[in-house]
């Protein structure tokens, strides 16, 4: 039973990590039906920003939670700027272009950012300081969950609640929902669609940056390529849950995390990815729109 709980918690952590990134994919897709392949790179840039800043702060003699908070805040702001700029440069000029054009533009942006970080920083793996406080009393009281894991799960849950509130109850959220439903109609009733799209990118990128900081300090190493692998998994999670749906992205990410964890634990880690993607295929066969996705009828 302990073993089961440990695997459950491992899957939950992994799922939370995927969820933070998957939210960005699904929000952007919900609004402009674009798969933002550069999203994984924003996550990576968030982690790098936090690394650089925490090194500087450590040199300045700061330590502990202050570094974590400061590094996270700067990483979030910086990544949000990146998200905003990427949208303005790579996607906005293609708003009226055929759907494949922004997709290719997104892939290009992803490759550009990866190589830019590789050249500007390094291609080697870098150690990432464990910014998360090592709360030892948690390990003693709840043996099957590590302190960093607990923090990741709690932060993700809190962000999810905040995001839902934001979309349900604020003017911005209402404008987002309107744009998602029908962009032209939203424009007609006075929603500034371009601003809504920018806001979506900023929020998505900020979430990815939070993910970047949390995961990097959990795993303890980063390089320019981490965004690609995490991005693919998060994208899979978003599709699994129904791309465009926010609760769907979270559910999809958790299902993916648990599948990988249990497949490794009870079968073999050789087949971790085989199980994860077999599950994706099976779910898409029976629910083509994903777990919580709405089947969209083609407008004629």
């Amino acid at each position: 039973m302990d073993y089961f709980l440990e695997l459950f918690v491992g899957g939950l952590t992994l799922g939370s990590i995927y969820a933070l990134i998957a939210l960005g994919y699904t929000m952007v897709y919900g609004i402009i039906e674009l798969i933002n392949f550069a999203h994984g790179e924003i996550y990576m840039i968030g982690a790098f920003t936090a690394l650089i800043l925490s090194s500087v702060l450590a040199m300045a003699g700061m330590s502990g939670p202050a570094v974590l908070v400061l590094a996270s805040v700067v990483a979030v702001l910086y990544s949000a700027c990146y998200g905003f700029t990427v949208e303005k440069i790579a996607y906005k000029p293609l708003r009226r272009a055929p759907r494949l054009s922004p997709l290719i533009s997104a892939i290009g942006m992803s490759i550009f950012l990866q190589n830019y970080v590789m050249l500007a920083q390094t291609s080697d793996f870098l150690p990432f300081p464990s910014l998360l406080p090592d709360l030892d009393f948690i390990r003693d009281s709840i043996p099957f969950i590590g302190p960093t894991e607990l923090i990741i799960v709690l932060v993700t849950a809190a962000i999810m609640v905040l995001l839902t509130l934001l979309i349900k109850f604020t003017r911005m959220g209402k404008a987002m929902r309107a744009t998602a439903q029908d962009r032209n109609m939203a424009m007609l009733v006075g929603v500034n669609v371009n601003r809504v799209i920018s806001q979506t990118f900023i929020i998505g990128s900020a979430l990815a940056a939070v993910g970047g900081v949390l995961i990097a300090s959990h795993i303890g190493r980063i390089n320019f390529y981490i965004g690609f692998i995490a991005g693919i998994k998060a994208f899979t999670a978003a599709v699994l849950g129904g791309i465009g749906s926010i609760p769907g992205a979270v559910l999809g990410a958790l299902v993916l995390g648990w599948t990988e964890s249990f497949a490794t634990g009870y079968v073999s880690s050789d087949y971790e990815d085989v199980f994860a993607f077999a599950l994706l295929v099976v779910i898409l066969i029976f629910r083509p729109a994903g777990l919580l996705g709405r089947a969209t009828t083609q407008k004629v």
Binding site: G10, L126, G146, T148, R221, I226, I229, E260, G265, S269
Partner: protein
């Protein structure tokens, strides 16, 4: 196994070299010790074979200048096999018919295996500087075969001997990264543990390279009750797995290979790297004989030596020393001398074990201590 560009220019000069040796050969033919040098001297892999020719030339020049051995000069018979098994049988036949006393070669494992059949029938000893296929010595089919390089499975052997013999582990988890290198090593390690019957493989699995998180496999290691992990693969995954194990408070020992014996591993894993074991090539850079051999090469040929140069240098020295000690070129006596007498070479003090692998060549075990790899004595 790296190729060196300069070797290409050298192999254009090779025909001239052949003629030079052929002429000295006839002059000294009367009473000499004939040392066959076989390997890839032309073709794509010439850069692996040519350094061995130069090594032999340097050693022999030195020996002949001091009067040769057993009162005779040493003569080289150089034959090319282009690393091709079908050519290697011809090469071997040629060396036998030219009455070679002993052979230094061949270079590639496939070609070596093909040639060994012929040498066995002719009762000729062959010492290879570079053929790493484990079967060549372990199958026991070629008692006249020796080599001055560690076989492909030497790291796995060392890891297992260390884990079972030195650390006295009873339960071992063997993991790999599913790649050719890592998986190959892990499979050898598993085979050795099972063959020794002193310990038990409680977990054998591949992990996904580059994955976001390894907590599930780490749980599985804990669940399996393993006292130690033998990991075949490279440092990025190893540092993740080690860090996660230590964060979960697991003290399980971690033993890995030269893919992990890298300074980046220590930098990335930080304090979690402490105590990790990894095998790596023995350090020969400080050996004065190696320094001298490299210098001699630079002086004679005006360039840095290529691949397997030191191994070939050691092989030639070992052969000539064995003939000297055996006071004969008779195969059985020389083989016995190769197995019993240590000789000082650029690779260190070596002799050969019963199967023909050099003792004292190859890999050593290192452990991370205070942020650096230190050899475990």
């Amino acid at each position: 196994m790296k190729k060196f560009a300069f070797a290409r220019s050298f192999h254009i000069l090779l025909p001239a070299l052949f003629i030079a040796f052929a002429s000295t050969g006839t002059a000294l033919a009367a009473d000499t010790i004939k040392l066959g040098i076989a390997g890839a001297h032309s073709g794509d892999l010439a850069s692996y074979g040519l350094p061995s020719v130069k090594a032999a030339e340097l050693v022999v020049k030195d020996i002949n200048a001091r009067g040769g051995i057993l009162g005779k000069k040493v003569e080289l018979l150089i034959e090319d096999d282009a690393c091709k098994p079908e050519m290697a049988t011809n090469t071997a036949t040629k060396l036998v018919s030219r009455k070679a006393d002993i052979v230094m070669g061949h270079i590639c494992s496939g070609a070596t295996k093909a040639a060994l059949g012929i040498y066995k029938d002719a009762r000729l000893i062959a010492v290879s500087p570079s053929a790493t296929n484990p079967e060549l010595t372990q199958s026991g089919q070629y008692p006249g075969f020796f080599r001055t390089i560690a076989s492909d499975d030497a790291q796995a052997r060392l890891e297992v001997d260390f884990a079972v013999g030195r650390l006295k582990l009873k339960k071992i988890a063997v993991l790999h990264d599913k790649g050719d290198y890592g998986k190959g090593l892990a499979e050898y390690a598993k085979k050795f543990i099972e063959a020794d019957k002193k310990a038990q493989v409680v977990l054998f699995e591949g992990v996904t390279p580059g994955a976001v998180d390894y907590s599930a496999i780490v749980q599985k290691i804990r669940q399996s009750g393993a006292e130690g992990v033998i990991y075949g693969g490279y440092h990025p995954e190893a540092s993740s797995i080690v860090s996660q194990m230590r964060k979960k408070g697991m003290k399980t020992l971690f033993i890995s290979d030269d893919g992990v014996k890298d300074i980046t591993f220590i930098k990335v894993a930080g304090r979690y790297a402490e105590g990790v074991y990894a095998t790596g090539p023995k350090d020969t850079s400080k050996n004065p004989l190696a320094v001298a051999a490299n210098e001699a090469h630079k002086k004679a040929y005006g360039s840095d030596p290529g691949a397997f140069f030191l191994n070939a240098y050691a092989a030639t020295q070992a052969i000539l020393n064995a003939i000297d000690k055996a006071k004969s070129t008779e195969s059985a006596k020389v083989a016995n001398a190769l197995r019993t007498h240590f000789v000082d070479t650029p690779l260190g003090k070596i002799k050969f074990d019963g199967r023909g692998d050099a003792i004292g060549v190859g890999f050593a075990m290192y452990q991370v201590k205070n942020g650096a790899y230190v050899e475990v004595k």
